[in-house]
Each structure stands twice: as C-alpha cells, then as structure tokens.
C-alpha cells in the first residue's frame, strides 16, 4: 500500500539511531565494568550492558528490512495488540509477585526477577501475536 512508503524511511532513521544508541550504551556499560569504580560495576554497568544489548538486537533485527516489507495493516494491528496483552500480563504478574512478597509467602532477588520478567514479556508477546495471527484478527 502506498501509505506505507513514507513511514519506512522515517522508521529506518529511527531504528538506526536506536541501534547506535544501543552500541553506545553497551560500550559505556562495558567500559564501566572493566575500568570503572567498584560502586558502578554491579548495578549501573550491568544495567547498561543489558539495555544496550536489547536495543541493539531489536533494532538490528528490524533494520534487516525483511520484517518491514512484509508488514501491512493487519500485521501491525496484531503486533500492537500482542504487545498490549503482554504488557497487561506482566502487570498482573508483577501485582501477584508484589503481594506474595508483602505477605511473606515468597521472596525473589532482583536478578532472578529481572530475568523472569524479560523472558515473560518477550515470550508472552510472541505467544499472543502467534495466537492472533492464527485467528486472523484481534477481535
């Protein structure tokens, strides 16, 4: 559809900026981890490395162009709904985890929880999108 043409060059620029930002953040995290003061090594450097990696991987994947050229209004709609439902599921899970922790029924360390949430968001988004693609629409 012709309406997609102007958006592609715009999103290409944005994705390139995100990819470069990812490299910078990843590099900064790596430098902090190797040469920075001990106070930065644990939290800040690992956060930068994780955030930079995620930015780089996602933007590089989208920059390949294969996925973009195959998108239309239905795939965009399904992609958006998949992410929305994934966000909602993560919100519910966080709510449950919070109350489990407050009531003393379970406790989680930050690293475990972070990895769990990263996986939950990624896997559930793909799961919801797969389900909607099978149905054909989100309704």
């Amino acid at each position: 559809m012709n309406e997609n043409t102007p958006g592609i060059s715009g999103s290409h620029t944005l994705l390139t900026i995100l990819f470069l930002a990812g490299i910078l953040i990843f590099g900064a995290g790596l430098l902090m981890l190797l040469f920075g003061p001990p106070s930065l090594k644990e939290g800040v450097s690992l956060s930068c490395i994780s955030a930079g990696s995620v930015l780089m991987i996602i933007s590089a994947f989208r920059l390949t162009g294969r996925e973009r050229s195959q998108q239309d209004e239905r795939t965009k709609k399904i992609g958006t709904y998949g992410l929305s439902w994934s966000w909602f599921l993560t919100f519910i899970v966080l709510f449950v985890i919070f109350w489990l922790s407050v009531l003393g029924l379970a406790s989680f360390d930050v690293s475990t929880l972070a990895v769990f949430l990263i996986l939950l968001m990624g896997v559930s988004a793909k799961g919801f999108q797969w389900w909607f693609f099978r149905k054909g629409d989100v309704e």
Binding site: M1, D72, E73, R74, D137, E139
Partner: protein, 74 residues
C-alpha cells in the same frame, strides 16, 4: 461479516497474490478477508473494492445477532 471478494476476484481472473500486491498487503490478509475473519480498515476496503471494480457495500455485508442484515437507521 461476509464478503464477496472471492467472487469478484474470480470474475477478474485475479489470484489472491495479485490482489494482495495490488492493494499492498500480505496474501494472508486477503485469505482472512475472504473468510470474513479480518475486519479491514475503511481505506483497505476502499482499495480492494476499487481494484475489483465495485463498491464497498457490494463487497462486504454485516449480519446482526439474529441473522438479519444490518440496517442503518436514519
């Protein structure tokens, strides 16, 4: 939702891929449209109707819960 896309497409000897290319969507989108499983945007409905040489109201029909045709009241 019911559509007559397949019927109009056959009259013009177009494949699903041809129609998909002409209106700029994936072939799967045309498949789901023909099955009545995808509710298209007004723009896509217009493009499909234009490509098939017909109008939107000839291509798409909606039935209410009791099975009758949906009628817009004035």
């Amino acid at each position: 939702m019911q559509t007559r896309i397949k019927e109009f497409r056959a009259r013009r000897n177009l494949t699903q891929a041809d129609l998909a290319d002409a209106v700029g969507v994936r072939r799967e989108t045309i498949v789901f449209l023909e099955r009545g499983k995808y509710n298209p945007s007004l723009r896509l409905a217009h493009l499909v109707a234009k490509e098939l040489g017909t109008t939107i109201d000839q291509l798409f029909s909606f039935a209410d819960e009791e099975g009758g045709d949906m009628v817009l009241e004035e």
